[in-house]
Symmetry: D2
Subunit: 222 residues, 4 copies
C-alpha cells in the first residue's frame, strides 16, 4: 500500500471532531483526487469508522493499545481499528508515549493484522532506535516545536537531515509544519513525508491549506 506524503493528525481537537472531522477528511480526499498527492488522516477513535466509511484515502488511528482482544475495558485493539476501517496507526506520539517493549509487541500485532505502523520519536537517535524494531515508517518530531507553527525544517533542518541519515526506511518529519515551504524543505532534506496537526485540523479552510501543502510535495518532486 502506498504511504501518504502528508499525514494529518486530528489529535483531540474539538475543531476536528465528528462532522468537522468528516469535512477535513473529505477535503483531504479532494486534494488527493486533484493533485495525486496522497493525504492520510488520523481522526479520533470515535470517528475512525465514520471516516473510513466515507473516504477513499488512508485513515489511521492515533494509538492502539498493546493487547489482543479480550477483557481489556477501555483499550483500543489492533482488531478494533482494523474493523473500523483504519489502514494503520500512529504509535508512541509525544502526547502518548509508550514503552519500548510495548512498541515491539504492538508492531508485532500490527504486522499480523497487515496494518501500517508509523512510530513517532522525539529526535533522530530515538527515531533510529525505534527503526530497529522495523515499523513501516518513523516520524521524527521535536516536541518543543509541536504546535508552534515554527517548522522543524526551518528551525532544525539538522534534525531532518540526521533522521534521514540514521533511519533506514520511510521517514516522516513533523512539528510546526504549516506552510508550502515547510513541505518543500522537508522533502528536499530527504524526508518521505510530513506529519502535521493544527495547521490543517484547526484551519478555517482545510482544503486550501491542504492544497498548499500538496503543492509543496509536487514542487519538491520536480
Amino acid at each position: 500500500m502506498e504511504l501518504p506524503r502528508i499525514v494529518v493528525n486530528f489529535k483531540a481537537y474539538k475543531e476536528a471532531l465528528g462532522k468537522r472531522a468528516l469535512e477535513i477528511s473529505r477535503a483531504a480526499e479532494k486534494v488527493w483526487e486533484e493533485t495525486g498527492v496522497l493525504v492520510g488522516v488520523v481522526p479520533q477513535h470515535v470517528d475512525l469508522r465514520m471516516i473510513a466509511d466515507a473516504v477513499e484515502i488512508p485513515v489511521f488511528a492515533q494509538h492502539v493499545d498493546p493487547v489482543r482482544p479480550g477483557a481489556h475495558t477501555g483499550s483500543v485493539t489492533v482488531e478494533a481499528i482494523k474493523d473500523a476501517g483504519a489502514v494503520g496507526t500512529l504509535l508512541n506520539h509525544s502526547e502518548r508515549r509508550i514503552r519500548l517493549d510495548q512498541i515491539e509487541v504492538t508492531l508485532q500485532l500490527l504486522r499480523e493484522a497487515d496494518l501500517i505502523s508509523i512510530v513517532c520519536a522525539n529526535d533522530p537517535v530515538v527515531g533510529k532506535a525505534v527503526s530497529d524494531l522495523q515499523p513501516d515508517a518513523v516520524a521524527v518530531e521535536p516536541p518543543e516545536l509541536i504546535g508552534t507553527g515554527i517548522s522543524v525544517s526551518e528551525a532544525k533542518p539538522e534534525v531532518v537531515k540526521r533522521s534521514v541519515d540514521l533511519i533506514e526506511g520511510v521517514v516522516y518529519v513533523g512539528a510546526g509544519v504549516s506552510k508550502r515551504e515547510d513541505v518543500v524543505k522537508s522533502l528536499e532534506l530527504g524526508a518521505y513525508g510530513v506529519l502535521l496537526a493544527s495547521a490543517v485540523a484547526k484551519a478555517k479552510d482545510p482544503y486550501s491549506k491542504l492544497l498548499e501543502l500538496a503543492e509543496g510535495v509536487i514542487t519538491a518532486e520536480e
Copy 2:
C-alpha cells in the same frame, strides 16, 4: 435520565466488536422494548457512534481520559464520546484504573457535559471512597470474580450488602453475573442494577441471555 438496570460492558472482546456489537445492542434494545427493563450497552470506542446512531437505549463509553479537547493524541475526551452519542461512561474499571485525582477531574468534565458517570471500585470501601466524589453511580466489582461466571451475589453477598450500606446513591454490582438468579439476588440485596460483560458479550444468543437477566429484574421488583 433513567439509569439502566443492566449494563453490558463489551470490553475489548472480538465477539463484541463491529457488526457483532451492533447485534448485541439491538438485542438489548429489543429486551427493553419487550420487558420495560432498561439495558445499557458499553461498546468499544470505535463502535460508539455507530451504536448510538442505531439504538434508543443508553450507550456508554468504557473510559474517558481526564483531559479537555486539545493536543492530546490518542486520548478520548468527554466531548468526543458525547459527540458520538454516548450518554455517559464507565470510569476506573479494574482493567483501566485511574488515579483518584483523575477521577475527580473527569467527573467534573462529565458534569459540565451533562453526561452520566458510573465509577467502578474493587470493593465496598473503595466504592464508598469514590462515592465521596459524587458520581451518578458506583459499580462494585471484586476483580477476582470478574470473568469467572461465579456471581458476586452468590460468592460474596456481603460485598453487595456492604456496598449498599456504605454507598449513598445508585449502586451497581458486578463480577461473574451471568444468570437470572444472580440478578434477583443482587437486587434483593439492595443493588440498583448489575454490570456484566462476557455472559452477554460472548453469548451465542445475546437476546435470550438478556431476556433471562431482565426477568431477574422483574422478579426482584415484584
Copy 3:
C-alpha cells in the same frame, strides 16, 4: 506513637540530600528537644537509613510501592523502609500520585508492618475519600500553592476548614507553609499539623526556620 506537628518533606531537593539532609534532621531534632514540638522528617530513599540511625525524631519515607518483598527491581517496599528505620511514609503526594486501589493495598501493608501512613490529597473532597480507607492521617495540599510560599492557610483558609470538617481523624494541611503565622492559622482552623518542604529544606538556616514554625504550634495551642 505521637504524630509530629510539623512534617518536613525533603523531596528530591539537592539542598536536602546526604550530609545536608542529616543537618536538617538534626536541626529538627534540636527544635523538638528545645520546644517539645515534635518535628518529623521525610528524607529521600537513599538517606532514610542514615537519618533514622542518627536522630530520635520520627523519620518517614516519601513513598512506598504497593508490593510485598519479591522480584520487584527498583521498588521500595514497606519492609525496606521499616528495616531502614522509618516509622511510616507519605503516600499519594501530588508529585507521586497513585491509584486508589494501590493506596488501599499499601495501607494494608503499612498496617501489617505497624507503620504510620500519611496520605496526601489535592483537596478536601479527595481528602475525605482517602480517609475512608482509614490511613493514620490525611494531608491536604492544593497543588497550585505547593512551592509558592503563599500559605494555604492565608490564600485558601476554607480548604483547611473544609478538610477539618469533612475528614475524621488527623488532618495535616500544606502548600506554601513557610512562616510562624501560617502554622498558627492552620492549627487554629483545626488542622493537627502542617506539611511543608522548601521553606525548611532549602533554608539557609533550617534550625531557625523550624524554631519559628514550632513557636507557631505553641502559640496556637495556648
Copy 4:
C-alpha cells in the same frame, strides 16, 4: 572504570535487605579479592549508601527516575544515587520498564554525573534499539526465564548470540543464570558478563555461590 563480570541484583527480596544485603555484598567483595573477578552489587535504594560505604566493589542502583533534583517527592535522582556512593544504575529492568524517551533523558543525566548505565532489554532487538542511545552496557534478559533457574544460555543460546551480534559494546545476559556452566556458556557465546538475582540473593551461602560463578568467568577466559 572496569565493569563487573557478574552483576547481582538484590531486587526487592527480603532475603537481600539491610544486614543481609551487607553480607551478600561482603561475600561479593571477598570473591573479587580472592579470584580477581569483579562482582557488582545492586542493592535496594534504602541500602545503597550503607553498602557503598562498606565495600570496595562497584555498587549500582536498581533504577533512577528521569528527573533532575527538585520538587519530585518519592523520586530517586541520579544525584541521590551518586551521593549515596553508587557508581551507576540498572535502567529499564523488565520489572521496572520505562519509556524510550525517558531512557534517553536518564542516560544524559547519568553521563553528566559520570555514572555507569546498564540498560536492560527483553530481547536482542530491543537491546539493539537501546544500544543506539549509547549506554555503557546493555543487559538482555528474556522475561519468561527470569527467576526460573533455567539459564538463558542453556534454554536460548541464540538470544545470547544474537544480542552479541546486534549490539555494539558491552553486553550482559541474564535470566535464570545460577550455575558455573551458565556463566561459562554465556561468556563463550560472547557476552561480557552476566546479570543475575535470586541464585545469589536468596542463596543460603552467597559466598560459595558467587565463588562458583566467578570460577565460570575464569574458565571462560582460559
